[in-house]
Structure formats: C-alpha cells, structure tokens
C-alpha cells in the first residue's frame, strides 16, 4: 500500500481527535476495549467447582476485554483443577466447555 495513503489516514485520525471532546474520547476508548455487553453461559453442573456452589447459570460480563479475551481457546484452571475451555459462539456470546 502506498505509504502516503497511510499517512493521510493518520492525519484524518489526528484531525478527528481535535474535534472530539474529552468525554467522546473516553467513550470511544471504552468502546474500543470492551465492545458491547455480552453474555457468558456457564453450565453449572459441569463447572460446579468454578461456581463455588453458587446456583448461577449465566453470567453477564463485558466481552472483548483482556480478561475474557485471553481465555478463549485456553484451558481455564481454578482451585488447582482444570475447568474447561472457553470458546467463542459469536461476537457476543462465549461458552465454557467441559475439559
């Protein structure tokens, strides 16, 4: 790609920043990091230890943030035991699968 296209696009970004209020800037920043609020479904029977005996069947959390993103596809361990893997169902829904 022509470097000039990249440089022009960055200039547009900088100009856009100058027109944004601090609140707009912060809001965009939050949105970039966290995205929309999504849901993580946890199958209580299979993740009994994880749930610490709480009868919660569904957690509502922020998706696309670093804490949840780093778990996708990776084994989740807690209390010294392997719990399962988190998989991405779609952009808004993550699901934990049994190990």
């Amino acid at each position: 790609m022509n470097n000039q296209i990249i440089l022009d696009a960055i200039d547009d970004m900088l100009n856009e920043l100058d027109l944004m209020s601090d609140e707009e800037l912060q809001a965009e920043y939050e949105n970039l990091n966290y995205g929309q609020i999504g849901r993580v479904f946890i199958e209580a029977e299979e993740f009994f230890a994880f749930l610490l005996n709480e009868s919660i069947e569904e957690y509502t959390i922020l998706v696309n943030n670093s804490s949840i993103g780093s778990y996708i596809g990776n084994p989740i361990e807690t209390h010294g035991g392997l719990i399962g893997k988190e998989t991405l169902v779609n952009d808004d829904v993550h699901k934990l699968l049994a190990a």
Binding site: L7, I10, D22, Y29, N33
Partner: protein
C-alpha cells in the same frame, strides 16, 4: 517475503505453543500480538537467539514463570510469512512522528487502568482506527525496542541502534521452525 524471528519463553510455555500454537499477549508495551526478535540473515540468528534468552532471563526475574512447572529457557525460531504492505512500520520517520502526536493527544485523557494497559491500549487504538480508516488489516507491526538489560551486545560499542521487534497480530503468518531448550541458563 520471509522475516525470521525468535521468541524466548519458559519451557512450559514452549510446550503449550508446540501443542496449541501461539496466542496473542493482550497487554504489552506495543499493543496486542506475539512478539519476536527479528532478523533476515542467517548470520545474525545468534544475535536474535541471545535477545530471546535475555528476554527469558528478564521475564523470569520478574516472576512471569513463577507458577510454571518447567521454568527452563526455551527459544522458538519462526519464519514470518508476510508481504511488505502488510507490515505497519513504526520506524518509518513520518509514521513514528504521527504516532507520537496521536499518543500525546489521547494518552493523558484515558482514565483508569495501569500505565502499561494505557500504553498497550493506545497502540491498539491507533492501529485499529488506522485499519478501519484504510480498509485493510496489518499482519504485524515493526518497532525498535530496547534490548533486555541482561543482553550482551554483539559489538563493543552499540553502533547498530536498538534491535528490531515484530509484533505479529495475524497468527497465520507464523511458521514454527524449531524449539531449543537451554538447560544451562
């Protein structure tokens, strides 16, 4: 083209990478990605290898591997398959200067989070906005970074500048060539 790279980590992590491939660091000083010390000539492989080992020493001292079963040093050698236009080069003088201006405009206005998270987010934000603006994604970033403190320089006087680092965002680019465990470290 092919860029070669090394990645230093503990042997437990290396085993995980061998089994499952690399996963992106979510928070790091140049944003999200997998970090490699880059080189092109085979003659300089030892230079990149030493950088990877020096990084492992630094990370181990910091406690990054404290909970790992095997904390030995492993170096992973890779080929990064990429086209020139798919690299966003932060060492390009103009891009570098524009990023500094961007950073100054946004960094202090971000609230919350730690310093390193803010830096990482600033890089991510810059690259993501740029990608959206021009309608293409970058497979990797090229940055120059300070060598780890325990790295022994190749030359008695540092006339070569800081080493090149590639921050790979598209993991499809990565072709693992070999693993090397250094039990003497």
């Amino acid at each position: 083209m092919i860029i070669k790279g090394t990645h230093g980590t503990c042997s437990s992590n290396a085993d995980s990478i061998r089994a499952n491939g690399f996963t992106c660091s979510k928070v790091a000083l140049r944003g999200e990605g997998v970090y490699f010390w880059g080189y092109m000539s085979d003659e300089l492989e030892i230079y990149a290898r030493d950088l990877a080992i020096a990084w492992w020493r630094f990370a181990k001292k910091r406690g990054d591997y404290a909970n790992m079963a095997n904390q030995n040093c492993s170096v992973i050698f890779v080929h990064l398959n990429v086209e020139d236009q798919d690299i966003l080069d932060f060492e390009d003088q103009q891009i570098r200067e524009k990023f500094i201006i961007f950073y100054q405009k946004v960094f202090e206005k971000f609230e919350g989070k730690s310093e390193i998270e803010k830096i990482s987010d600033t890089y991510n934000r810059f690259v993501n906005k740029l990608e959206k603006s021009i309608g293409k994604t970058f497979s990797m970033l090229h940055v120059k970074v300070q060598a780890p403190k325990r790295y022994e320089k190749m030359l008695p006087i540092d006339i070569t500048g800081q080493p090149s680092c590639y921050v790979v965002r598209d993991l499809e680019c990565i072709e693992i060539n070999k693993f090397e465990e250094n039990k003497n470290e």
